[in-house]
Assembly symmetry: C2
C-alpha cells in the first residue's frame, strides 16, 4: 500500500505554536521534506527542529533565490520524483511548511505534482496572518467587516483600489516593494491605522506603527495590518 | 502585581489542532473564561475540554441568541467586571476562543473592555480559514493572488462587487444568508470553482462541491472557498 503525503503547517516561528497533530505526524513519519534557500537554513526546518527525531531521512528542496530563476521549478520536479518513489515504496512523507501549507505556501508546488496519484492529508497550521495580529495586539477583523490579503508585488493602482474597497487588509510579501506600499498608504491617509510586524513570534520579532517604519529596510517576512475604524465601504 | 489576560485560540475543532503554547497556558492559569449560548455547550470549551484541568474556576459568558438582542452586550460588560476583579487580585485569566482570537472572534468584546488597564497576551490559533482549505484539499491562495474574506450578511450587490475584484475568496458566517450567496456565485459562473465545508476538522465535517449544496440547509459554522484559476483581475 502506498504511503501518505502530509502537508504539515508548523506555525509562524515560535516552536510552541506547532499543533499536537503536527507533532504526532513528525513523530511517526520516516521521511521529512522541506524547501530551503540555495545556501543556508530552511525556515520550516528551523521552526520544527526540536520536534524532529534524530533518525529521520530528510529531503532538502533547494530553491534558487535569483529572481530571474523564480519560475525555475526544477527543484520541485526533482523533489516530486523522489517523494513519489518513497510513497510508492509504502513510506509516509511529511512536507513541513512555515505557517499553513495552503496559505501562500510553496507546498502547493509539490501538491500539484503528487495529489493526483497519492493520498494527501493537510495539517493546517497557525498562520503568520493571525500571529501578526496577536503580536501587535490589534484585532485583525471583526463583525461583518471585509478582510483583504494583498501581496505587495501588485501595481500601486491595484493596491490603492483594493484598499479603498475593504475594511481591513493584510499586506504581505513586503521586502523591496515596501516603499510603494508606504506611499499608497500615505496617499490614502491610512498610515495611522496601519501596524507593521516583522518576524512575528520569533526571537527577532519587531512591532511598529507603520508611520515609524523606514520602508527601505523591510524584509520579506514582514506584514502590514490595516484596519479602518468606524468606516463603511 | 496584576494578572495577565490571555486570549487563547484553541483551533477549529479537532482537539489535536491546539498548539503547545495554548496547552501550556491552560495548564497554568487558575481561571478560564469562554462564551456560550444561553442554553447549552460552549464550542470553545468543547474543543479544549480534554486539555482543561479539573480544578479550574470557569467563567461562562452566556450570549443571547435572539437576533433582536444581538447588540446587547450586557453579558460582556458583566464578564469584564468579573475578570477585571480576578486580574487585580493577581490571578491570570485565559479566555478560550474557537479558531483564532483576533479573526472575527468574540474575544474582541472583552479585549476592548480590559486591554487599557491590563497586560494582555494573544496565543494565535489555527483558524477555520486554513482548516477549511485543508479539509477540501484545495490551496486557499497562492503566489501574488488576492484573497478576500467576505461575511455573508453583506448585500448581494456588495458581494458581487467584492467577488469580481479578487482571485480567491472565503465566504463566512453563512447560515440563512446562503441562498443569496448561492445566487451571486451562480450569476458570476463561480459555482464550479467553489467548495463548501461544514464543521471543518470536527467529527461532523462535511465537504461538498458548492454546486451540490442545498443552500437552504447550511449552518453558521460553514464556509465557501472560491478560487478562480488562471484569471487576472
Amino acid at each position: 500500500m502506498n504511503g501518505t503525503l502530509y502537508g504539515v503547517g508548523v506555525g509562524p516561528g515560535d516552536p510552541d505554536l506547532i499543533t499536537l497533530k503536527a507533532l504526532n505526524i513528525l513523530q511517526k513519519v520516516p521521511v521529512i521534506a522541506y524547501p530551503a534557500p540555495e545556501v543556508g537554513e530552511s525556515l520550516a526546518r528551523k521552526i520544527a527542529a526540536r520536534h524532529i527525531p534524530d533518525n529521520r531521512r530528510e529531503i532538502i528542496i533547494r530553491i534558487p533565490l535569483d529572481p530571474k530563476r523564480s519560475t525555475d521549478q526544477t527543484a520541485y520536479d526533482q523533489a516530486a520524483v523522489d517523494i513519489d518513489e518513497i510513497l510508492r515504496g509504502g513510506d509516509d512523507v511529511a512536507v513541513i511548511c512555515e505557517g499553513d501549507p495552503f496559505f501562500y505556501g510553496s507546498f502547493m508546488y509539490l501538491f500539484n505534482r503528487l495529489a493526483d496519484q497519492h493520498k494527501v492529508e493537510i495539517i493546517p497550521g497557525v498562520s503568520s496572518l493571525m500571529a501578526c495580529a496577536g503580536a501587535c495586539l490589534t484585532p485583525l477583523v471583526a463583525r461583518n467587516e471585509v478582510l483583504s490579503i494583498l501581496p505587495a508585488p501588485m501595481e500601486a493602482d491595484q493596491l490603492r483600489e483594493q484598499l479603498l474597497k475593504t475594511h481591513a487588509a493584510a499586506i504581505i510579501k513586503l521586502g523591496r516593494h515596501t516603499p510603494k506600499v508606504y506611499d499608497v498608504l500615505a496617499e490614502l491617509d491610512l498610515l495611522d491605522c496601519a501596524h507593521y510586524v516583522e518576524h512575528a513570534t520569533m526571537d527577532t520579532q519587531r512591532v511598529r506603527k507603520m508611520s515609524e517604519v523606514d520602508p527601505t529596510e523591510v524584509p520579506y517576512f514582514a506584514m502590514i495590518l490595516v484596519r479602518k475604524t468606524g468606516v463603511g465601504l
